[in-house]
Amino acid sequence: MNGKAVAGIPAREPAPPRGALNLPRRSDGSAARLVTLFGSCGQNRECRAHYVFDEGVPAYREIALPADSGISSITSQTPAAAWYEREIHDQYGVEVKGHPDLRPLLFHENWPAGVHPMADQVENVPWSKGEYHFLEVQGEGVAEVAVGPVHAGIIEPGHFRFSVVGDTVLHLELRHFYTHKGAEKLLEGRLLRDGTMIAESVSGDNCFAHAVAYSQAVEAALNTSVPPRAAAIRLIGLELERLTNLIGDVGGLCTDVGFSVAAAQAARIKESLLQASWRCCGTRYWRGVATPGGLRADKDSENIRELGRDVARAAREFADLARLILGTPSIQNRFEGAGMLPSKVARDLAVVGPVARASGIDLDVRRDHPYGYYRRLQPEVPVTHYGDVMARARIRIEEAAAAAHLIQEASSALPAGSTLATIEPRGEVQGHSAVESPRGELFYWLEARDGRLARCHIKSPSFQNWPAMPFAVIGNVIADFPLINKSFNLSYSGCDR
């Protein structure tokens, strides 16, 4: 086979990083992890590029550079920056010098070129018809398989372009942002307390993590400290969301290998938690609970204790189910060795969350950048280096147990007192916050002027992890793709925003 990759766009030599950012390093000399990269416009419409790094210490390192005359791409040194640089190029029209691939990311063929909604007011954008060039793999016996954006199942839209020889995947290219809703632009100009509602609709199944991350960013900007009771209840909500998602993920993996009895049992346990949430606080997904300063309303302590008991029961049942699932030979046969994500790739692409921890990267915001009640209660952070579907399943099962444990601890000794601190908006302020969402590090950065949002950037773990997923698929049979994709369980809407 003479597979030869031909880029659909003219290849360009990466420009030497002249006047580029001096990439920060950790104390051991290794490169700091890129957390996010985004643009913003100042009051006089001057454009800036913000880089956020994790240097291995609790505080994130933020660097802002003027961007009106363009920025130098860091993608060749930090591959994790590739999509961020394409995004800033799309949103603000910032020239990114030396980027190897500046095809539009957010805006599809029906957008005319040169529309930059974050830099200019855009209204009544004319519809156009363009073409998007996928990387074309040529060679004897190479076939292309196009999947999506509409998939078979109850699932979000996205496009996958496979190049296969027989059953084996040679190359997979993603085309996402079908669910791009302009959430960051919609947040601009909103009152600080109104932002939560949009944050909750960035990725619905992780809505509480988004609401807390947003609220914490406002609190950081305004130097507000959240009452301990509110912080403890937020921890319970965050861990409950994690537990619910992880149980759903394991059930989803069973569905994708045809183990429907186990999938139905996982769905039953998950639903029991959603109903327990409703009994405790009137919402199945903890929407409308968090607000900048704490919680919109206090929760009854007895209800929280009851929730704790429901969680304990669900966690026990899930642990038993998970043990049986992993002990099933046909599951082992499908999970083991499938969808290997090498640690090197995961590190280069700055992958986060359970996916990172299954590929040997010991990373958890709750422990490394503690926030809220995690300053008091710390989770066990499981890590394994196998990097296959089985590793991601095991990590999730262990994390579910740890989440249930944290809920027990927090709910059995809930602090007394108020649950809402007053927010006092003032002048021009900036703040950021990170939360370990069920999918990994979620990072909000915001700038507010006189109580209104001037800019709010959302780094979602899915945006970070999607580019790594194809690397786990290459070399596998195409029939294993749904399983591998499920083992990443990334959010399309969270990525597309």
């Binding site: 079908y178 791009h180 619905g204 183990f259 919402t283």
Partner: protein, 268 residues
């Protein structure tokens, strides 16, 4: 080990919730209910001001001021309950799921403190009627036109052992070509517009279309965004609307059955 899982499963008690308990039930959706007798002009003014999606508005008909609540725009944020001085509380029942847009709109005469546009009092589908309507076979294709995945989570929940949609013969199918009904979530994004139209085209007649969630009904919190075309009916014809952010499984089931009830006799 497979047999251990099956054995555990068999030992579980039956958890299926009876259809009568689900129809019109909106527990967990955080939808508001207005207590008409407690409305005053000042309270109504306040409600219209705090509603972030303009689901609550004020108007005038024949010289009389009214308060309007459009459940199709409501995301259940709860502001009206917080600010309503007792005139708004959490709803436990919601009629109109699966109806037309107007079926989701309520109006109250502020001066007299009474509801002036109640939903049409039509008979509801009972369990036996449901089986009759469906003939135990309805193929549904879910289409995400740009949602946040909150609606997907609840649609997936419909298939769990509590709601067990299969008991009615309702199946989710993999292709629009196999579908009787399209269940469309999300505001239609510009990037999804072509795919939404193509999917609609692929569905054979009678092409029942249900718009799901505040976003599907009215674009919800994303109304007005540069990247969003609007609710589902901005692009394709819609037969019924299910409100909520997200709608609960009970509301989804109510809505699906209602659309079916209204359109069961529709000619192809």
């Amino acid at each position: 080990m497979i047999f251990d899982v099956i054995e555990r499963s068999l030992r579980q008690r039956n958890r299926v919730i009876r259809v009568e308990e689900l129809l019109d039930n909106c527990n967990g959706s955080r939808m508001p209910a207005v207590l008409a007798a407690r409305l005053t002009p000042a309270i109504c003014q306040g409600l219209a001001e705090v509603c972030p999606t303009k689901a609550i508005t004020l108007g005038e008909s024949e010289g009389k001021p009214y308060l309007q609540l459009d459940y199709g725009k409501c995301v259940g944020c709860g502001r009206c309950i917080e600010e309503g001085s007792g005139a708004v509380e959490i709803a436990h029942h919601l009629e109109g799921c699966g109806g037309q847009k107007n079926d989701l709109i309520r109006r109250w005469d502020i001066g007299r403190g009474i509801q002036i546009t109640p939903p049409a009092p039509e008979p509801k589908a009972s369990a036996s009627r449901v089986y009759e309507l469906l003939g135990r076979a309805l193929n549904v294709r879910q289409l995400d036109a740009g949602s946040c995945n909150g609606c997907e989570a609840e649609i997936t929940a419909l298939t769990n052992p509590y709601y067990d949609l299969e008991r009615f013969g309702i199946h989710f199918v993999a292709s629009p070509k196999h579908a009787d009904m399209l269940l469309v979530t999300g505001p239609v994004t510009r990037n999804m517009a072509d795919a939404v139209k193509a999917t609609y085209e692929a569905v054979p007649a009678p092409k029942l279309v249900v718009a799901v969630g505040a976003c599907g009904c009215s674009a919800g919190v994303f109304a007005g965004s540069y990247a969003v075309c609007g609710g589902v009916d901005a692009l394709i014809p819609v037969d019924g609307y299910i409100p909520g952010c997200p709608p609960t499984p009970a509301m989804l089931l109510t809505g699906i059955l209602e659309v079916l009830r209204k359109h069961a006799g529709r000619r192809v």
